[in-house]
Symmetry: C2
Subunit: 328 residues, 2 copies
């Protein structure tokens, strides 16, 4: 068997699913997806990851060690150098040596990164950020994640924890965020925050298209398609709540522009995918109002992600390529 | 006459003073300072700049063209490529071709940059940020300026306007800022904002050590030494106002850490120089409370600038060196 020239494995490890792709130049050659089953503990999850790799290799008639390298995006804080997942709340993992275990069992160079970072890298190299130099990615989901690309490279920062854009404090002493602190943008504009704000209006006696759904799904985040349904039905509570979230996301974008003046800000995540550019229009408008430098304001693009679910795997494969190159 | 090996000219062009230094490896070899006299128009100011250069050359027994290159930090928006000062409100300049004029008259390569950017670069290479990789500089004065260093290089961004840290919106729909927008940190923690907040308390009937000074100096910013005097005298209004400013600056620092995870944040400007580390202690404390990544929180240093008034000239000389190298 010969080495697969230019083919890298990218894995998106989520709390619910594991997605593994063999990728060449941003194109997915083979893909396999399975449930994470995090409740069964790290060993089972790692076994399941390995199985997806074997499936993908099988589909391409090769063995895992024939790929150039592998990178896995994990949902939490990771140690880039050692490949240890320090803290991944969605998996209930503390200090799991993910990188070394996979490397030993699969026989190829393995790198570990944060899932949002690799998703942002994917969008930068093969998605909405393509062709630019500096980009910020903002993923709006149950939380708000992000990543910063400077001069074509992922910016990690001194402790490897750059890009925690969801925890920009935007309202001093404001709403309690899931992280325990107060006033983070995540507490105002994540899907969780949007659901809570709609619920609050209902509790105040307002009627809403989503009243029943929310009552039947306590503590479960609203789906993006339901939010779209409510908006299309003209539900005034949902419309108002989304408007406020867009205002905060506009301020967030403006703050990022005033600090970093990137070429492009890419918004991703389920809600953005569902609602498309209509969701971004008011964000763009607010953001531009708050740029200090008004000259060439339109040069700073605010775009929706284009890779969708594949941002994570394609980005992880790109990260594998870049990190292999950096150690060679 | 032979070229001065490794000697660069750095000029700090301010609304009040022009400071010009010949610098070698961060050491000032000769320095001359004069009044800007901005009211007399750009031609007079440029002549005065040239005179300071001639004085400095004279002191070192050479002519301006014997220096390797010159960089001038201007107080406003500049076009890096052309050396045009697009908009400098303190000088009342619009689209002044500063770079080409100086280059023609002085006969050496001339670069133009923003004054805060070069000050931040000075602190990074020869001051408090020395030895680090990523740094954010925050200068608290009548406004709040800043600059971002990534991977050892000044980060300009796509439109050249990165580092406008004072215009991070920290209170949505909050206080009106000098820039015309609402809720910028500059409207809460600059010296101008501090003076206004003290005045507001006095207007409400509170007594303050600074009551008379403020009454006699309407529309003039409070001096840093007077603020220190009031604090030392135990003035409760000033103490409270400074505490609030420190809280906002702490949030600002935390936001920068959550986005960029720099190795060091350097605070500069008159107030920081006057009050020293005592001013930074509460900022540090608030900031750390708001880091998302609490691991190695102390690794992110929050320090006071060390170059003082010379940050601008030393930084401009460093910028001259770097930009000359980049075009060679």
């Amino acid at each position: 068997m010969v080495k697969k020239e230019g083919v890298y494995l990218g894995i998106d490890l989520g709390g619910t699913n594991i997605g593994t792709a063999a990728v060449k130049d941003g194109k997915v050659l083979a893909y396999h997806k399975t449930k994470t089953q995090a409740s069964k503990g790290p060993e089972v999850v790692i076994e399941r990851i390995e199985k997806t790799v074997l499936k993908v290799a099988e589909e391409l008639n090769c063995s895992p060690s024939d790929f150039q390298a592998l990178c896995i995006g994990a949902p939490g804080a990771v140690e880039l150098e050692t490949g240890v997942v320090n803290d991944a709340p969605n998996l209930d993992w503390i200090d799991v040596p993910l990188g070394t275990t996979l490397e030993k069992n699969l026989g190829l160079p393995v790198f570990v990164d944060n899932d949002v970072n690799v998703g942002v890298l994917g969008e930068f190299v093969h998605g909405a950020g393509r062709g630019h130099k500096d980009m910020v990615g903002v993923f709006v989901g149950t939380g708000i994640g992000g990543g910063v690309i400077i001069n074509g490279e992922m910016h990690y920062g001194g402790r490897g924890s750059a890009g925690e854009i969801g925890h920009m404090v935007i309202v001093p002493k404001g709403r309690r965020c899931g992280c325990g602190k107060k006033g983070c943008i995540e507490a105002y504009a994540s899907k969780t925050a949007i659901g809570a704000a709609i619920q609050k209006q209902i509790d105040k006696g307002k009627d809403s298209y989503l009243k029943e759904t929310l009552a039947n799904n306590k503590n479960k985040p609203l789906s993006s398609s339901l939010i779209e349904e409510a908006l299309l039905a003209g539900d005034s509570v949902t419309t108002e709540v989304i408007k406020k979230a867009q205002f905060y996301l506009g301020l967030l974008a403006a703050n990022l522009v005033n600090i970093l003046d990137p070429d492009v800000i890419v918004f991703g995540g389920g809600l953005v995918e569902q609602l498309g550019d209509d969701f971004l229009k008011p964000i763009r408008k607010t953001a531009r109002k708050y740029y200090l430098q008004q000259k060439d304001a339109k040069k700073v693009q605010i775009l929706a992600s284009t890779l969708g679910d594949h941002a994570g795997t394609i980005g992880a494969a790109e990260a594998a390529k870049r990190r292999l190159r950096s150690i060679q």
